[in-house]
């Protein structure tokens, strides 16, 4: 009950936060170089044609009028049209979001499922071979940009060895796309029992997911390791040791107390992943939201860009809300 109240209050707080984000985004987007009317009209358009376009696009209005119209529309669920695809932004997003979520969530879950146990293991087995390997990996992952690693993986696993499919999106072109259920192709194929498509989708997922996992999982490993190690040396674990507690219970005490900061880092990783997806999707021609955002920036397409940033803000705020709620569950000392 207390939990529901807390969660409810935190959800209400999202409204003013998103309002502020919308203002910042709106004005930041307009600071981008490039005149959208000019870009739309093309290189050889006349001055009058550009002026005409500017007026139909509403760009000749004062900024605060533009913003007021924008907010009114958004509140009614209208995020505007993309000048580039000439589709409603909401349709474009609906079409592309599942592909991105598939990438982000899959990477996130793999990073957590592997990263936390590896972190715990290396905290306990200090100075083992695993520890050295991971130290090297951590150094590398911390210094390699995700898009570059993506290119290297493509080079090794596609260009050189041909083990995995190349960066051509989510499916082989010869495989027909399974009927849309969730929009995430691998999941749709699985749910619909289209095994050919499922196999192809999974193979296409491997490299982008591996790229993001390799780059971002290290944060979870390192943080888990540090926190568990610190907790193993804490007074209460050492006291449990002094009282002859079973080794497994000592470890459980340490892990339980290391969890809150690890959960925070998991939140941060999900947040980073959205940013990482933007570039990695471009490398793999993934056709998701990240690639859509990059293309919108290049063509000064305001409406989709605003929608993307707003959506990213909602995603981020929700992730951190979940982190706070997790704290609430883990730590009895936290009262609303």
């Amino acid at each position: 009950m207390r939990f529901a109240k807390y969660a409810g209050r935190r959800l209400i707080f999202l409204v003013p936060q998103l309002f502020v984000v919308s203002i910042i985004v709106f004005f930041l987007v307009r600071l981008l170089p490039g005149d959208p009317a000019f870009l739309m009209a093309g290189q050889f358009a006349t001055e009058e044609r550009i002026e005409e376009l500017r007026s139909t696009m509403g760009l000749d209005q004062p900024l605060y009028d533009q913003y007021a119209r924008y907010v009114t529309n958004v509140l009614q669920g209208d995020f505007g049209h993309s000048w580039r695809t000439s589709q409603p932004v909401i349709e474009d997003i609906k079409q592309r979001l599942p592909a991105t979520l598939e990438l982000v969530l899959l990477t996130g879950f793999i990073s957590v499922a592997l990263g936390i146990p590896i972190g715990i293991y290396t905290a306990v087995k200090k100075r083992g071979i695993a520890d050295r390997v991971l130290f090297g990996y951590g150094m590398l992952a911390g210094s390699i940009p995700d898009f570059w690693l993506g290119l290297i993986l493509i080079f090794v696993f596609f260009s050189l060895t041909g083990i995995l499919p190349g960066p051509i999106g989510q499916l082989d072109p010869i495989v027909s796309t399974p009927p849309r259920i969730t929009g995430a192709i691998a999941l749709d194929a699985l749910l619909g029992g289209h095994w050919e498509a499922f196999k192809s989708a999974v193979l296409h997922l491997i490299l982008p997911v591996a790229t993001l996992t390799l780059v971002y999982m290290t944060l979870i490993i390192k943080n888990t390791r540090t926190m568990v190690e610190e907790m193993m040396n804490s007074d209460f674990v050492q006291h449990a040791r002094a009282m002859g507690f079973k080794r497994s219970i000592q470890l459980r005490y340490a892990v339980r107390n290391a969890l809150p900061p690890v959960v925070t880092v998991v939140g941060i990783v999900f947040w980073f992943l959205l940013g990482g997806a933007v570039l990695v999707e471009t490398v793999f021609a993934w056709g998701g939201l990240g690639q859509y955002a990059v293309e919108s920036v290049i063509s000064s397409d305001y409406a989709p860009l605003q929608a993307f940033v707003l959506l990213a803000a909602v995603f981020t705020l929700l992730v951190f809300l979940l982190v706070d709620l997790a704290y609430f569950v883990i730590d009895p000392r936290i009262k609303t």
Binding site: D235, F236, V237, H239, A242, G244, F245, K246, Y253, P332
Partner: protein, 326 residues
Amino acid sequence: MEPLLAVDDVRVSFEKESGAVAVLNGVDLSVQPGESIGIVGESGAGKTVLVRTILNLLQEPWKVHQGQIRFDGEDLLAKQEEELRQIRGVKIALTSPEPRKQLNPLVRVGEQLAHGIRAHRKITRKEALELAVEALESVGIPDPHLRVRSYPHELSGGMCQRVVIAMALSHSPKLLLADEPTAGLDVTIARQILDLMAELVHEFGSSLMLVSRDMGVVAHYCQRVAVMYAGQIVEVGETEVFYGAAAHPYSRHLLRAARAARDDRRAAAATVEARAAAAHGCAYTPRCPVAITACEQSTPALEPVEDGHAARCFRRGEVARGEVQA
């Protein structure tokens, strides 16, 4: 009588990159079955390190260089972690200062007591929880069946110390190491805690090693007193003998400071001074009012003043008889 615990010439250091810092410089101490012994000395004397060495808890960067600790016929320093686990909490138990920090903040105290009980007894979780309720009752916690469900932060410092004591005594240990059990508690609560501890230890026939900086507490609860200074036991004796005829100048200083503290609280603040690291000779020489040339040249051994009373001082006889003003 064979002592329950015999600490023999134990030397421990703290290994830093810049070199090792000696913390215990040859500690000799024995504890008889059923006896209560007080360990007194200022901060940094090595009292807590001694307690942790007895349980063989020290990990890097701590290092035990030399010495032997025999407990109940076993050589503790030669044992592996899993063998030690069968002794810790069962035969030797520990309470530490800052009891709240000794308890896992995320686990209910009853659950923690149950973990302690099940560490050494093959019973179900439910049976262990029932024993936890009894354990809380035995340390005088009101409504124990409700309190087992409390988290440490929901209990006062005194209550937390009672929980820690309940855990320490849940396997009727032969030896209880009580490291400053009342640090941070207010005076009335401290009294209750000490009375409770003394009573339970007596009931189980356990030995008690009470580490304290409070000379009054030690005088009241212990049959023998050992004084630590700079990582050594500098004097040990029966409580009555010790308080009447302390034979080491440092013991005299402690007793005087305790008396002064009662008379005038400000006086106690003046007792802490920088400790010079003496390569040769008695570590207390720089602070000693009755030091002689010999004190700077060689270290006195822990030699008897009379039966059962020994001090590390060349002039122990004169000091004990009060012939010199130490």
